[in-house]
Symmetry: C2
Subunit: 114 residues, 2 copies
């Protein structure tokens, strides 16, 4: 019913390993993270060709609630970024290993996005 002005993000210490692995086990979510690591902070719309909007919204929420991403409201946009420092502090090397593992077959690099 309400659209919270401040979105919930878990504290660094509360980031749960199961939640992170689960979040990153989903290909669309992993592609989002991969792309964000290249782009840095970005508006959500850069992912509009990854899936229908309503589905993306669901995936954003899962990533955010798992502590993998941070979402900031900036005017009409949601700026999303990976919580690299928090993840590195809590689970050293984990994100790097997953990114490296996914690197070979990363996001399909849809035409007209670079």
């Amino acid at each position: 019913m309400c659209m919270a002005r401040e979105l919930h993000h878990p504290d660094r210490d509360q980031i749960d390993l199961s939640a992170v692995l689960e979040a990153l086990s989903e290909p669309v979510r992993r592609d989002i993270v991969l792309r964000l690591l290249v782009e840095g902070e970005a508006p959500c719309q850069i992912f509009d060709n990854f899936a229908p909007k309503t589905n993306l919204s669901y995936h954003y929420a899962r990533l955010r609630e798992a502590g993998v991403t941070r979402t900031r409201i900036s005017g009409p946009y949601r700026m999303i970024s990976v919580r690299t420092e928090d993840l590195a502090a809590r689970f050293p090397g984990l994100l790097e290993a997953i990114v490296a593992a996914a690197g070979g077959k990363a996001s399909p690099a849809p035409a007209g996005t670079a």
Copy 2:
């Protein structure tokens, strides 16, 4: 209906990142892997206090089909082990990072198992 004599294991090259992450996102399965890394190859029964047998059997299958573990039939036992070399070759550093991340709150070390 049939109980295959040879269990199916994916080839090293076919181990899928999503499947591995998904397999290791489950706490019971992660605890099994953690314990196996300490014990080396072990009969399944060492996990009998982790969960009901029928449930363990399900988790063994998921780990095996994801390419995380290998199961070998030895007389009346199933010997299970982690495919550390295959995982290291396919996804370098991934298993180590997950183990390190889980290390702090590893298996509950149930009494009378050491």
